[in-house]
């Protein structure tokens, strides 16, 4: 099996605690993988290591055959890693449409200043079309021209998802995308994620407390607890595992 993302024995310590203890994880191209674990297990920390926001103490991460050590956050994004944030990171002061436009520009690397000066960099038709397509895809049309500060938490999460998709990633890292969403919004997101994964072939690594969502979407699952990987395997295997049931799922199933 060829792999898209490969993390090998990643260890990350914060003063006093070991947030990640030799965690290994892999995602194949186009695969849908779940990452679960109780609060404070180290899921977000692992995401930060993967996307380059946090330096880790030992271990290695490679993506698409490239060793990521020394590769900056924005370069990882250009390699095809996109993510959303558990603690939302929106461009306050910009509209939803502007979020996507900015991302499209970043993706097409058309940010040179001389272009601004010579051409004025007005939004082109093809850019607007791509933006509109994505807005439709995620049902964001009604909010397109609203400032993101005026959106509900759930809508904000969907904007983050849209922004991540706008970079046309190979791998999408989603940190609790359904928290704050109402039931119908969650349904839309589940459906869309399925579509993105199946039809566009985007690999997805999903962190989620909503076990049902993971169960219905992921084909493989990793389980973290106190920074240690306590289980991994196909969804059926992991959810059937007695250890996992005890440590994490408790009375759920």
């Amino acid at each position: 099996m060829n792999t898209l993302l490969q993390a090998v024995q990643v260890t990350k310590r914060f003063a006093g605690i070991t947030a990640l203890n030799e965690v290994s994880l892999d995602v194949a191209p186009g695969e849908f993988v779940g990452l679960i674990g109780p609060n404070g297990a180290g899921k977000t920390t692992l995401f930060n290591c993967l996307s380059g926001l946090t330096r880790f103490d030992s271990g290695s991460i490679s993506f698409d055959g490239v060793d990521l050590s020394g590769v900056a956050v924005h370069q990882r994004a250009r390699l095809g890693i996109a993510r959303t944030f558990q603690r939302m990171e929106l461009f306050t002061g910009m509209t939803v449409r502007q979020h996507l436009l900015v991302t499209d520009r970043a993706h097409s690397r058309s940010g040179a200043m001389w272009k601004d000066i010579l051409t004025g960099s007005k939004a082109r038709r093809d850019e607007l079309q791509r933006v509109d397509e994505l807005l439709d895809f995620l049902d964001l049309g009604a909010d397109a021209d609203r400032d993101v500060a005026a959106l509900s938490l759930g809508r904000g999460r969907i904007v983050e998802l849209a922004r991540a998709l706008m970079t046309q990633p190979k791998l999408l890292l989603l940190d609790e995308p359904s928290s704050g969403l109402d039931i119908s919004e969650t349904e839309v997101v589940i459906e869309r994620l399925h579509e993105v994964n199946r039809e566009r072939g985007v690999a997805i690594l999903l962190v989620e407390h909503d076990v049902e969502m993971v169960r219905s979407l992921a084909t493989r699952v990793f389980v973290l607890d106190f920074g240690t990987r306590i289980a991994s395997g196909t969804t059926a295997e992991v959810f059937g595992d007695a250890n996992v049931q005890r440590a994490y799922l408790g009375g759920v199933s």
């Binding site: 996307s51 926001l53 900056a72 956050v73 924005h74 370069q75 994004a77 250009r78 996109a82 993510r83 944030f85 603690r87 939302m88 990171e89 929106l90 461009f91 306050t92 002061g93 910009m94 502007q98 979020h99 436009l101 900015v102 991302t103 520009r105 970043a106 993706h107 690397r109 058309s110 940010g111 040179a112 200043m113 272009k115 601004d116 000066i117 004025g120 960099s121 400032d147 993101v148 500060a149 005026a150 959106l151 509900s152 938490l153 904000g156 922004r163 706008m166 970079t167 704050g180």
Partner: protein, 661 residues
Amino acid sequence: MDGFIRAIIQGVPIGGVFALVAVGFVLTYKTSGVFNLAFGGQAFASAALYFKLHVIEEWPQWISLVLSVFVLAPLVGLILERVIFRHLRNASDLARLVVSIGMLVLIPAVMKEILDIATVVKHPVGILPDGLHPYQLFGRYPVSRDEISQVVFAVLAALLLAALFRFTALGLQMRAVVESARMTELAGIRSDRITAFSWALSSTFAGLAGVLIAPRYTTVNETYFFVLVVAGIAAAAIGGLTSLPRSLGGGFALGVTAILLRTYLPQDSIIANQIQPALPFIVLFCVVLFWKDRATVSDPLATVDPPPPSSASDDRGALLTWGTRGFWSVVLGLMAMHALVWGNEFRTTLYTQAVIYAIIFMSVTVFTGIAGEISLCQSSFAAIGAFATMQFADRFGVSVIGGAFIGAMIAALVGAALALPLMRLGGIWLALATLAFALLFESVIVNFDWVGGLVPLPKVPRPLLGTIDFENERTFFVLCVVALLLVAFVVVRVRNGTTGLFLTAMRGSETAIASIGVSRARLRVTAFALSAGIAGLGGGLLGMYSSTISYSSDFGPFIGLFWLVLVVNLSTRTVEGAMQAAAGFVLFPEYILKPLDLGGAYQYIFFGIGAITFARHPEGILEFQKRRSMNSIQRRIDRRSGRSSSSEMPSVDTPTMGTTS
């Protein structure tokens, strides 16, 4: 060995004064989170009052000392805290920094206006009678009474503070506030009173330092005290900006090291001669630069900066747009007539000056208005442009227009080189590093022959384009207007283009902009280089305008601070804002202050006060008013034409906060 001991004995007194400043600075920084650059103004205030009372009015030393250090200084501190900074608790660090710069401009101007000491030529005197009286320490090392007083008071103040902390309830509470203001409040202690007290106390430290150091200077001039405070900040930075004992140690270390370096470096080079005054700036720059954690440490309870409001012109209908455009065309046309046709040559040159400053101020529009960062070395970039124009014309016979462009390029390159190591910093740290650079530029770099050190300084000729000779003031005015239009065009295009979009996004979230594949480093470097280049171009024009470059009066760091204050007063976002600031800089003293028979100091007073508004309206007060009146006119138009209000504006006073959970 002898020289070593001598250096230490000379260095300790000055180090003591640095230490006083450092401790006072840390005290307010820790208790109220204000990075108080106005400290320099506070030190000046006490020194000036002491000078007035003792040296001019010949009051006894101790009365003068009590009034200036133990009455005026705490009073100033209290006023600053009560009237201003208490109300800015929720403003961003950067906003408070800008307000404190406004106060730094304001306080000395007020003091000079009240005390009327600007023209007195007398030497400042220390706090002991016959301060220059030398003693021989160990029979061979001379120390003066003034120096002894500097050491004694520094140590005494430190001991008193330590005792206060250790043995009094108030001191204990203060220590708690220093540890964590929020925690203290949660514990039910009102940190208000404690904050006020520590402002008064720290201001006393500033005043004491000012009075103690004054006899080292030839006159009582606010720039000396400003530089003193930066040295104090450097000392505090050595102590991590948080630890009082280490700040104290840092102060002494800085004083001694400076003298040691002067003693042991090869003599007679610019570096050796200037190392003593420049050392604090070098230290400050390095500390900021190598401060690894700073950029990542963030207060989880800190509020998100409200987003910059879109510019007022974004929300108006077509009719109003054309209306305002028409209005401004008429105003500008009238101004052009006023400058060129109806007036004499003096008026033309005045307007030319305003146009050139408008160009320089647009560098602030780019970096502060669009990129949302504060640079305190724009005046150095302008100076680079001016000197480059001069040098290229003088040495290589390059035409001055070419020289000005080369100067702008060099300034942009220096800006980029400076931004590269600084780019992971933002906010206050960037401001601090640029301030250190501006002071370093002044104390060292300017003095080199290949910058501005030639005596006499060559003249900058006016340009000559084919048959057009810009010696003529009216043609030169037109040239400057053309340059202004070009720069304005570039700024508007960048603001509305992809770069502007990226920068706005970065202000919203640094993390997210990187996560979509934009290099923050490159973005900052670009913005900084553009801003520096614009300042450099303006500096080149200013050089041509005045023909002899006078660095200290036109390009000094203090001037640079005032520029910033001016622009943030009016509008940082728009090109008009820069133009209005330039008018405020050049025309305001001539056409408003002069007829009212007010001195130039009032310019500093008015705009210094105005800087307070930055905390509430970071887009600039003029921009805010414009937006308000425009919205109301727009509503009126809408109502008359029967349209329902097109888009209800969110209230400007209470911007909705981010949506972070």
